[in-house]
Amino acid sequence: MFKQAAWLGWEMDSNWTEPGLFLIYSIIKPVAGAFILVLMSFVALFIGTGNPDLGKSAMFAYLFVGNAFFIYVASVLFGCFQVIQSDREWYQTIRYVYMSPINFYTYIVGRAASKVLLATIATAVTLAFGVFALHIDLSMSLWDIPLFLAVMVIGLLCVVAIGLCLAGLSFLTAKHTHGLAEGIPGMFYLFCGVIFPLSVLPGWGQSVGRALPITYWLEAIRRLILPSSQIAQVTTGLEQRDLAGIIALLLISTAFFFLLSILLFRMTEYLARKAGIIDMTTNY
């Protein structure tokens, strides 16, 4: 089931143009995204220090890595979120998929899997651009690779779980789907230490950030792939916790969101069946 859903997701994400053009698009898109960040940072550094050497700036490395890995968050959340909407409104297949003997929850995870693959390519391209063009110093010992992979898997599970919570909500609404699909990742972008460390947020903002697992995921990744000397220069707001503590918090919050996603999904699915809106088309 997962396999077929993943295949369908991949076909939809990759099959809209010629393979060569798709390859070019997959490389250019993340690089273009990184350029916006580069320009903003260049200006900020020039105004602040008069020396816009991005490669030597610990803060730039911090935000560049956060931004690169945030591609997963935006992409997978949108991937989960738009499954119901697109099957309902564009392809009008949701009633046939929903009434087939599959687990719809697994189907959405499968459809989102292609987004993970595409986000992996985009993140790798962005990081490569950072290392080779902007001279960002990434370093990871061989011993840390298994831990990095484990953190990636936990983090992605967590992002998928949050995506499924949002997918559940899209069972009940058509009107607000796009607003939520853009707004929720936007909230994570602001509060999870992607480009602003928690320390620069107001107290309540820091509390929000500390309640969200993506904060710990990005922090763990940074500590694993950036030199510790650079990490030490940035006041992240999470300095008091060691890497093990950060990963433990990531695990706990992931487990919480995973359970929440199952409960919320079941509840919203029941409510949608009750209201008769599983296969509604609204043309929103």
Partner: protein, 340 residues
């Protein structure tokens, strides 16, 4: 005995969402009044369909046909009452039901446009756990039958509406379900395609054991020709249920008179004539005529009908008395034709 499907006092009510006014706040009661209040799509429906039956559900738009199919297909929960498919409760035993059923709706253009026709059908077959090789063989066979084989590697987005509908029919049959729900399967199809589909459905039920079809249709001829039994549904209620022959026998004492007259200003005077059961009328703007089908209980009423028509200055172009059809049964019960 386990029925293919069974409903007991099945009721489904849709609540209408109140309109939101930016500036004016209206009371809930006023809002409900303006929106027409809740809609009862199914009203205490008791219906049993036997295994191996090709069962027809006949009714006008908004009669509750699609709602009933949606409940039986586990897409919609009943408001009250119960429904069973293959002996399983639609509210609680969803997974058991889904393995045994499939559904095709006519007149829609569903499908993943970026996949080819064959890929689209194959993907759905995989959702039902059919071995890939078996599925591919079945798909090819069905594509030949429905005349879609030359489009097998064509992307769905390029198919015509009729071709998409054929593809969806194949999607319904490829999983070889025990119970197949067909919601107006020939809607919008050309004559040849409709005939192919009707023949395939009839053969599918007759030549295989334990296959059941619930077919909803607008077309009387389709129901009469294909179905073992037919239920007439209107405003969520089952008005009659029997074989097409028995349904027609119900109004045999009455006669059906069909009239073609110059366009009538009003059909109200005809409704008031004593000795008339029910009648339907349809204006033909192109020819400037009104076609009337009148169920006559007492033939002496015919002269009153003619007087009522000529009194409006309308000329009678033709008149004929016919044997009752399923459409006449429908008019006799519902008080209007299916296409009104």
């Amino acid at each position: 005995m386990t029925y293919a499907t069974e409903t007991r006092d099945l009721t489904r009510i849709f609540k209408r969402k109140p309109k939101r006014h930016l500036l004016k706040r209206k009371s809930a009661k006023k809002n409900e009044k303006e929106n027409g209040g809740p809609v009862t799509a199914l009203d205490h429906v008791n219906l049993t369909i036997k295994e191996g039956e090709l069962f027809g559900l006949l009714g006008p738009n908004g009669a509750g046909k699609t709602t009933l199919i949606k409940v039986l297909c586990t897409l919609l929960l009943p408001t009250s009452g119960s429904a069973y498919v293959a002996g399983f409760d639609v509210s609680k035993e969803v997974n058991q039901i889904r393995r045994k059923i499939n559904m095709v709706s006519g007149g829609e253009t569903s499908g993943y446009g970026l996949l080819t026709t064959r890929e689209n059908i194959w993907m759905f077959s995989q959702f039902y756990g059919i071995p890939s090789k078996v599925a591919k063989e079945r798909i090819d066979e069905l594509m030949h039958t429905f005349g879609l084989y030359d489009k097998k590697n064509v992307k769905v987005r390029t198919l015509s509406t009729g071709e998409r509908q054929k593809m969806n029919m194949i999607r319904g049959f490829v999983t070889d379900p025990e119970i197949l729900f067909l919601d107006e399967p020939t809607l919008g199809l050309d004559v040849n395609a409709s005939r192919t589909i009707r023949e395939y459905i009839m053969n599918w039920v007759r030549k295989r054991e334990h296959k059941t079809v619930l077919l909803t249709t607008h077309y009387m001829m389709e129901a009469e020709m294909m179905c073992d039994r037919v239920a007439i549904i209107d405003r969520g209620r089952i008005l009659a249920l029997d074989t097409p022959a028995n349904l027609k026998r119900m109004i045999r004492k009455e006669s059906t008179v069909q009239l073609e007259v110059d366009t009538l200003k009003s059909t109200a005077p005809i409704g008031g004539i004593k000795g008339i059961g029910n009648f339907s009328s349809k204006d033909d703007i192109a020819h400037g005529t009104t076609n009337l089908t009148i169920i006559v209980e007492d033939e002496s009423a015919i002269s009153d009908i003619m007087s009522a028509i000529t009194a409006q200055g309308s000329r009678i172009r033709s008149m004929r008395k016919t044997d009752p059809t399923l459409e006449d049964v429908f008019i006799s019960m519902v008080g209007k034709g299916l296409e009104e």
